[in-house]
Assembly symmetry: C2
Homo-oligomer: 665 residues x 2
């Protein structure tokens, strides 16, 4: 029999081209040429993942005769992914003549997942866990190897996986699955090595959950690990709040109450398991279908989820039990998912700059950037990262709870009915507001009707920021943070200070103490940023990104007006959503992202605000609006800023325009 | 400061020699020269393991001045291993001049463990699990890595262990141990990679348990993993006997009773946990101190211990769930030992030649032998291995329960009071016996007194073999297995057959059916051996080893007389004890033994008795004593054998001296 004549196959979009014997299937040609074409069933015409179309180039038209005519399994294909018109199964279509084959993005393993947020880095889907379908030979007396060894041989021969190791529970489940699947099974292989699940027959979907374990909120996405598609998203309160609002009170609880750490661990794990159930219900799958999870969190959350005692994180030197990336069985954490599922946690940067900061770095990518980026996760404790492709610095700063609406009069968590946007007329001092869940301003006619249901309940963190900033811009609050009695019925005398009535029913008054709380918080944040600028030897950053459950709701303009962050081109201050959560998603979907976050975290330089002598100096200087000492030319070019208040004679500092003694008292 | 002058250090017994700067410690010199000197504490003068003495050679006398004078920590040494007179701590003594250093065996890591049994291969102690003592630096704010990473760095720097991975429970326990140990901890590292345990301070003993999981008996040894010393040995009945005496009845139970397999698994695991407790009590340690276990067993035991459904092992093709070596967490099996302990099971040869046979191969070492060895584990199911360094063959043969004293009239398990040795006077036909636990023959005066306590309870497997063999040699039983009425009051008529009264009170009669049961069992065993000889293309073996709980109690002479095994030089038929248990011990103590058993098992050729057409032919021919067709020149040269019985006219077979139809009816 003469050898089949060689024909040339060109693949687009990869551009790879080579010759193969006529009669070669498109899938085999793609594999021979290193072209990325997806397949779970290994070319058996079952999974429908390897669909391709005829392409063309000058001199080589899209002539269907260049491929073999459709035959079984294509003509009778009844799988989960129907053949689109003009599509062929790469595993069935044979190359008969020179041809151009187009591999649509949906048929590429490493397809790009397009994220909603503009400017976010895409992540190539490349999960650590993959499904492989294999048919095992029947056991025969003459070949007494075990079925696990037959499985290993098939994975090596068909998928190039050498030396796979089945979990114990897979050994238990293997033969029943082989019986039920008539010797055909699908296995989930992690890192090309650990066989963590087995099912009878063909199974072409595996799911994963990416969690951001916040001290206030647990937020999670459920994904199809193969496509990268987010099938469901959900959040819930972190039930540890019952043991302490902020991190330090939870650490105290763990330290002082016998069994306290274990209770905190049990509470968050139970909530996480419940969150997974919710996600699965939303997506119409079973928790048993979840095979991989990722979790990011600050060091205290990180330790509590893992069952590690967090008390050493409560005081210097903030000694982490472990700082490296951790992989642990989901069953150890009692998450109620598939028995073979693992949980991956990226590394922590330091004792109070956690895996959430590492995930933020991964998602925002200062280390990939030519511009100098400042990324700030604004919360009770702010994580601050400054860097570019040459160097990455990180710090944390204790901003306190003001930004989350706590310890503010009328303060509420960000929930329907909370005031989140505030505008104050510069002439009349009259306010208008928007509340969460109502798509109208309070001075618009439809507001009353639309807000009837939730009502107006209080003011949330972003609302208080806008209120203080607008009061400052309107001249009601001075650059030193003092509320001054302007000519308005909204001014409320309160002892020796004044308040401003933002809302009547219920009454929401911005009090002097509220402004002071915002000043303390923003000065701590700004001072942390300044320390990093000092360390980097620069005065200005190119770009600011506000992230975090709270940071993503701050209007960049007001962040600049109050001076939460150093002065910067207003167009380059952006709220970018939950970066840590996005980083968690990236490490869920991509093994390369895991390597990247582990690599970059290892070289992040930690700046310790608590022991830096200049922190206090920066803090005091930053108390004023927008800043006590540094000018704000970028901001001033866009917004009319009131003149600074002259320093009172009793001020301790001679330079600068602020009265820090009044503020910090 | 001038460099220290080089001096020459010679080590014995290794013979290694090299130059080091004067002032180098003996331990550092040994490490530089690759000399095996033990140390757990890493040269801190704590563990006392590195004791050496001064050696000498011509021209280099044992002059104490060649080493630095004893100083702290030697002079004040108060550790667990006191310094013997003339001994020095290698980590403290410095080399001052050319010197010969003798490293006693007790100070070598890879010291040979001498076994009691003559001729057994020694095993170099080289456990997969080792203890390492490290001192970790205090955490400081400036270096925010976690304590687990500090541990990894110390293990890399001091012990050359790259990329260690702590178990999750070690992460949990690490910081409390560091606190309790003032930053000094000992860790157990498995395979140079997995950190499976951590304790405060110095700990220099780790323990392991090697188990032989027999279908009748669970036998186990508790060892010091560092020295290889067996600290305790214990056995107990396999409680699965309640669900079926033999393997096939247990497989039936697993197949037919809902939840049956799980009950069998729970029963044996519970017994194993109890056995570990017993061993630990005997050795004065806690089950928490057990860090590594090994288990060998036939495929059904292997699967049931692992929680794998054994029903496929009940019929052809005897499909194993897994045939390779398995490592599983001891906690998965509920063994109640240290949380980080693992259980290792060597590979299985085939669906009814299990990890016990693999362990037997390892212990007896046909693959290391120039002579052709036949190793037989005699039990309800006999495992037979034939081989030399060129080729190893294995088979199993269903001998039935006769050899274990079951289904024999008056049969008893081998326990105190059971008849185990029998002699019958060739002239008078009078017997004398020995019973287990009594150190005298029944015709000796002290027998009555010494046997009063246990009494005489019945006859065990080796007793029935000796009884039948002696009856055959005395002419009471013919070569065809028929009991003939000789002139003795001991003959008991039983219908159309005769019995022989071996004992009066209680009455123990060897009946025709008992002889037939022994014939069937021995013929199955001999036939299995013959199949292997056929396959190997030989007629004779150089050496026979009888092993197993039962095989080790068979007198080789009577094994030859009855023809359990092919004729062979009587001096080269030996009972060698529990080879499988010894193999289990070897893989407990030696990583090299694990590699060896995995390698050799992979190339054992399996011979399937059930489908070999010649099995039945060999079986029928082997029914006679010593053998129906093959001559027994080796045996005949040492023992006067009665003439064979002439074949009866109604025999189906024309050749040979037996009456198979009478036997198999």
């Amino acid at each position: 029999m003469p050898a089949d004549p060689p024909v040339t196959v060109s693949f687009v979009p990869s551009g790879r081209r080579g010759t193969v014997p006529a009669g070669t299937t498109v899938l085999d040609a793609a594999r021979a040429l290193g072209v990325d074409v997806d397949s779970v069933c290994g070319g058996r015409g079952l999974c429908g993942r390897c669909q391709v179309t005829l392409g063309e180039r000058p001199g080589l038209p899209a002539d269907p005769g260049r491929l073999s005519p459709p035959s079984l399994p294509e003509t009778g294909y009844a799988g989960r992914r129907p053949l689109a018109p003009g599509h062929r199964l790469a595993c069935a279509a044979q190359v008969l003549a020179d041809v151009v084959v187009d591999v649509p993005e949906a048929s590429q393993v490493h397809r790009q997942v397009v994220r909603k947020e503009a400017g976010r880095p895409d992540v190539a889907v490349d999960p650590v866990l993959r499904l492989h379908y294999v048919e095992l030979p029947e056991p025969i007396l003459e070949q007494p190897t075990g079925d696990a060894e037959r499985l290993a041989a098939a994975l090596a021969a068909e998928w190039g996986l050498a030396d796979v190791r089945p979990d114990h529970h897979v050994l238990v489940a293997l033969q029943p699955a082989l019986d039920a699947g008539h010797r055909e099974v699908t296995v989930a292989v992690r890192d090309g090595r650990e066989v963590v699940a087995v099912w009878p027959g063909l199974r072409d979907a595996a799911h994963g959950v990416a969690v951001d374990v916040g001290s206030t909120t647990l937020a999670a996405h459920l994904c199809d690990l193969a496509s990268g598609a987010v099938l469901a998203s959900a959040g819930r309160m972190n039930p540890q709040i019952a043991y302490g609002e902020d991190l330090m009170s939870r650490v105290s609880y763990a330290m002082l109450e016998p069994g306290g750490a274990a209770r905190l661990t049990a509470a968050v794990r139970e909530a996480l398991a419940g969150l997974v159930v919710t996600l699965c219900e939303d997506a119409g799958i079973s928790p048993e279908d979840v095979l991989e999870l990722t979790m990011v969190g600050n060091p205290v959350m990180h330790h509590l989820v893992l069952g590690l005692d967090p008390t050493r994180l409560g005081s210097a030197p903030f000694a982490l039990a472990t700082s490296g990336a951790v992989t642990v069985a989901a069953s150890t954490l009692g998450l109620g998912v598939h028995r073979g599922a693992r949980v991956y946690l990226p590394p922590c940067v330091a004792g109070h700059v956690g895996a959430d900061a590492a995930a933020m770095v991964l998602a925002e990518g200062p280390h990939r950037s030519d511009a100098l980026l400042l990324c700030v996760d604004v919360g009770t404790n702010a994580e601050i990262v400054l860097g570019d492709r040459h160097r990455v610095l990180a710090a944390s700063s204790p901003t306190g709870p003001a930004f989350e609406g706590a310890q503010i009069s009328g303060g509420r968590r960000a929930a329907p009915g909370a005031v989140e946007r505030v505008r104050i007329d510069r002439a009349t001092y009259e306010p208008r507001v928007r509340v969460i869940g109502v798509d109208a301003w309070s001075d618009e006619p439809e507001f009353a009707r639309r807000s009837r249901r939730a009502g107006v309940t209080g003011i949330c963190g972003s609302g208080i920021i806008e209120a203080v900033a607008e009061l400052y811009l309107a001249g009601v609050v001075g650059s030193d943070g003092t509320i001054r009695p302007v000519d308005s019925a909204r001014m409320v005398p309160e002892g020796r200070t004044w308040g401003y009535r933002l809302w009547e029913d219920p009454e929401i008054v911005v009090r002097q103490a509220d402004v002071r709380a915002v000043q303390l918080a923003k000065a701590a944040l700004q001072a942390g940023c300044r320390l990093l600028l000092d360390r980097a030897g620069v005065d200005e950053v190119d770009e600011v990104r506000l992230t975090g459950a709270f940071g993503s709701h701050i209007d960049p303009l007001y962040a600049a007006v109050l001076g939460l962050v150093p002065d910067c081109d207003l167009d380059r201050i952006r709220s970018v959503g939950n970066s840590a959560g996005r980083g968690s998603l990236m490490v869920l979907l991509s093994a390369a992202a895991r390597r990247e976050v582990e690599e970059v975290t290892g070289r992040v330089e930690k700046v310790e605000t608590a022991v830096e002598p200049r922190f206090q100096e920066h803090f005091v200087a930053a108390l004023g609006f927008p800043h006590g000492t540094f000018p704000s030319p970028h901001l001033a070019s866009r917004v009319a800023l009131p003149p600074p208040v002259a320093p009172p004679a009793r001020g301790r500092r001679r330079s600068g325009g602020e009265a820090p003694s009044a503020v910090v008292s």
